[in-house]
């Protein structure tokens, strides 16, 4: 078998640009790798093999193009993001047969950059979950240990990247859904600032929280993908029209961490953290200080309330967003219904899985008359306090650092019985979505007990992605790469 799949995106890009590898060969090698490992990993819902090969041949016919930074690079896209002509299922039976007639903004940008889309990756249904076990099409497994979850909800994208089934992928992050699976699978995942990347063409879950971002095997790879998708889109009313700084230039300019103040939030390093996670993250902080950074203790006092505020807001927005799935314009319809209301109820009850139904109902409840002030308005007030916490902390430092998840990847099925327990696993990631800030998950080693990847989270001020990538790039070089999973 070709070993092309072991290259980084950056390495492949150079080989493609120099003509040492054709786009078709890169795509064929990727498809070969997918065929070899998918029976174990199940990272994809749809593999668009023939289409990808045709696109790659068309690129080869034109020749490498230096103006297209992802020319010929095979990438994957989470199945919540529309790709014209390929099914967009969101991991749900209700959208099993939905094939959009348009590309999402980010997909259009990937194509303009010359990327070849090899398939749609598996996910928790409608991005509701932290393990990718809640897909209607079966779970994805962790390439480091198939008995464990890859994290979620972008677990398919993380597993595909880690297993060498693509050179980079797009995920979405509503409460940690890029960063946590990146951490569990040993990848780099970046959740950009809210408004930095267009959500046009992405199926909405929690509209004020969702953000699309890159997942890749190295920081430079993630930066290349980020640079391709970031920027203003008039079709998304929440897209922010400010210039996108050159992250690659920022990375090239930063050779060490001299002068960098790293905030260490007390609330992220306390009880409940697995010792192996704490040890790996502390070692990464030591590496940062060895590179010239100084550590500054900071407080994020409303952290204990973030999970509750987050789930109220996310579920409320989900109940509203998912009202559009009514069996009329797209998606599953129950054929037995005799009248319209009955058709809505039957179609939705059959099409949505239990976690989705649970969240829609809790969302409906917290928005209902009499409870709106007690839940939704209260959560939105706490959300402002959480944002103020970050603003206050960032007055004393340039970036914040903490673990991505309190634990490494857990066994499949371990969280099934207790939804609240699974929600609590997002404690370190969700505050950031409430505040709209960027966050990056960097692999910093393997847990001493589990042997599984541990991720360190770097958080920064709004629209500070370039600095996060630059800092992560220095740390990545200092720590060295993880070994490849033994798949």
């Amino acid at each position: 078998m070709s070993e092309l799949h072991t290259m980084t995106l950056t390495g492949l890009r150079e080989a493609l640009a120099a003509g040492r590898v054709s786009a078709e060969a890169a795509t064929a090698a990727t498809l070969e790798r997918i065929a070899a490992v998918e029976p174990t990993v199940h990272a994809f819902v749809t593999v668009t093999g023939q289409q990808a090969l045709a696109e790659a041949r068309a690129l080869d016919a034109q020749g490498p193009d230096p103006a297209r930074p992802l020319w010929g690079v095979p990438v994957a896209v989470k199945d919540v993001i529309a790709v014209k002509g390929a099914p967009t299922t969101c991991g749900s039976r209700i959208l099993e047969h939905f094939t959009p007639c348009y590309d999402a903004f980010v997909v259009r940008r990937l194509r303009e950059a010359g990327a070849v889309i090899v398939g749609k990756t598996n996910m928790d249904e409608f991005a509701m979950g932290s393990s990718t076990e809640k897909s209607a099409f079966g779970p994805t497994t962790n390439p480091w240990d198939p008995a464990r979850v890859p994290g979620g909800s972008s677990g398919g994208s993380a597993a595909a990247v880690a297993a060498g089934e693509c050179f980079g992928a797009l995920g979405t992050d509503t409460g940690g859904s890029i960063r946590q699976p990146a951490s569990f699978c040993g990848c780099v995942g970046l959740k950009p600032s809210y408004g930095r990347v267009s959500r046009w063409g992405c199926v909405a879950y929690g509209s004020s929280l969702d953000q699309v971002g890159p997942m890749a095997r190295t920081v430079p790879d993630a930066a290349l993908l980020y640079q391709a998708i970031a920027g203003f889109d008039a079709q998304d009313s929440t897209s922010v029209d400010t210039p996108v700084p050159d992250a690659l230039a920022a990375m090239a300019a930063r050779t060490d961490l001299a002068g960098l103040r790293i905030g260490v939030p007390r609330e992220y390093w306390g009880q409940g953290l697995a010792p192996e996670v704490e040890a790996a993250c502390r070692a990464a902080l030591d590496a940062a200080t060895a590179q010239g950074a100084t550590l500054v203790p900071v407080d994020l006092p409303h952290t204990p309330y973030a999970v509750a505020a987050y789930y109220i807001i996310a579920m409320a927005e989900a109940s509203s967003n998912l009202a559009r799935f009514d069996g009329v314009r797209y998606g599953l319809r129950d054929a037995d219904a005799r009248e319209l209301l009955d058709m809505y109820v039957r179609s939705r009850s059959r099409g949505f899985g239990q976690e989705v139904q649970r969240r829609i109902m809790v969302g409906t409840y917290v928005l209902s008359a009499g409870y709106y002030d007690a839940y939704y308005r209260k959560a939105a007030q706490v959300r402002r306090l959480i944002r103020q916490d970050f603003a206050a902390a960032l007055e004393h430092c340039d970036v914040l650092c903490g673990p991505v998840s309190p634990v490494t990847a857990w066994p499949l099925g371990a969280m099934d019985a207790d939804p609240v327990q699974m929600y609590l696993m997002d404690i370190f990631t969700i505050s950031l979505n409430l505040a709209g800030l960027p966050g990056l998950s960097l692999p910093v080693g393997l847990g001493a007990q589990s042997g599984l990847p541990v991720g360190l989270q770097l958080l920064g001020p709004a629209f500070g992605e370039a600095e996060l990538l630059a800092v992560a790039g220095v740390l990545e070089r200092a720590l060295g790469p993880l070994p490849a999973p033994g798949l």
């Binding site: 007639c101 314009r329 649970r358 306090l385």
Partner: protein, 94 residues
């Protein structure tokens, strides 16, 4: 404040979902676990705090209210469960 299985059934109806009778009790229990956890927010003093509904500051940007045709009728109808070739078809309403 406990949510009863009957209340869950009422919420389900509002959300256009049908929960089987035998699953109502389990759903109500999970519902209460989630709401009990959310009650944690009651500990936070939010007097005078303006709610934050979106991280994007400033007014919503609006586009001009102008109709445009981006996709063909066939493309839009292609993913519908039932059409007559020109329209979406739904069960009889009146």
């Amino acid at each position: 404040m406990k949510v009863s299985p009957q209340e869950v059934a009422r919420i389900a109806a509002l959300a256009r979902l049908g929960i089987d009778q035998d699953r109502l009790d389990a759903f109500a229990a999970q519902f209460n676990d989630i709401l009990d956890y959310m009650a944690l927010l009651g500990q936070v003093d939010t007097t005078g705090v303006e709610p934050l509904y979106s991280p994007v500051d400033g007014p919503t940007r609006l586009r001009e209210d102008k109709a445009e045709s981006r996709y063909s009728r066939e493309e839009i109808l292609a993913s519908a469960p039932e059409t007559d070739g020109a329209h979406f078809v739904v069960p009889k309403i009146v």
